[in-house]
Amino acid sequence: MTIGALIIMATYGVYNISYKTYKKNFASAELTQNARIALERMSRDIRQTTEILTALPEDPGAGTPSSEIKFQDGHNFWPTSGQIQYITYSLSGTDLHRKLSHFTFTTPCETAPASTWVLWSTRDGNNNLPAECTDSDVVKAEKISSLQLWGVKVITINLNVSDETSTYQFETKSLGRNIQ
């Protein structure tokens, strides 16, 4: 009887530990996956861009790193496709957003045809800058607790991924090879 109870308790203990271990491993793997996807997507887009709009310090010693970055979409490169779009990566809570937007003088801005989209720095006859409208805003990664960017041409992307129990830091650098 006692031995039977001990065996049942031991079996439950093993089950309990295995379930907790599975959950912890799963959570840890999920953090790594989110960090990997965030770095992969951001470095791919930065590598192709032709212009970075966000002012970034050369290194963390030269100024506060930025927590977001806006740059021209180099994959959908004008004039090949006739579309001039901009990508913004930013954090909203712990979600990493990738926003695609365009600039235009045409109103309403949202429905302006792609042929009217212009570079952000274009001025009209009255020396006004164009209006910006969002084309899409998608969450690309979750559990990103901090995002830091710095560098000139070679952009360092440093991020932390966190859950209730763990925080891990990841870093990579991406060369904006089309930046003049």
Binding site: I17, R36, T156, S174
Partner: protein
Amino acid sequence: MKILFVKRAFTPTPKVLVRGFTIIEVLIAIFILEIGILGVASFFTTGFKITKTAREETIASNLAAGLLDEEVVNSFDNIPVAIGSREKYSIDASSPFYNYEKKIDISYIDANLADSVAATEMKKIVVTIYWINSGNEKSFQTATVKARH
């Protein structure tokens, strides 16, 4: 009236001897069971190690890709051909990358992508990241080619 009791002959029912387990047998059984349970428990530590290794390899591959881009940004003539030395990725002991080491090897390569002693128009950049995982050294290597434009 006299009641007569008939005395029956006593015939004992045959005893079936059920032999129990000795304490030694029980201890041996528990010992074997424990070995089984501990065997299952060892899977968990293996699972943790695999997850940790995957995370470290992701960190190492991203560091290596960054170092590669840092070399590629230089012009062809400003990339010195040399066997690199192993250095700390970060000299800051509080950095999470302090335990990672880097090595950058740059060599000339010929049209068949084979190493060349003579100067050519292409350089191969090989970045290796080293780190210690559970007492064993692990490494991640990535490479690219830079051509003279």
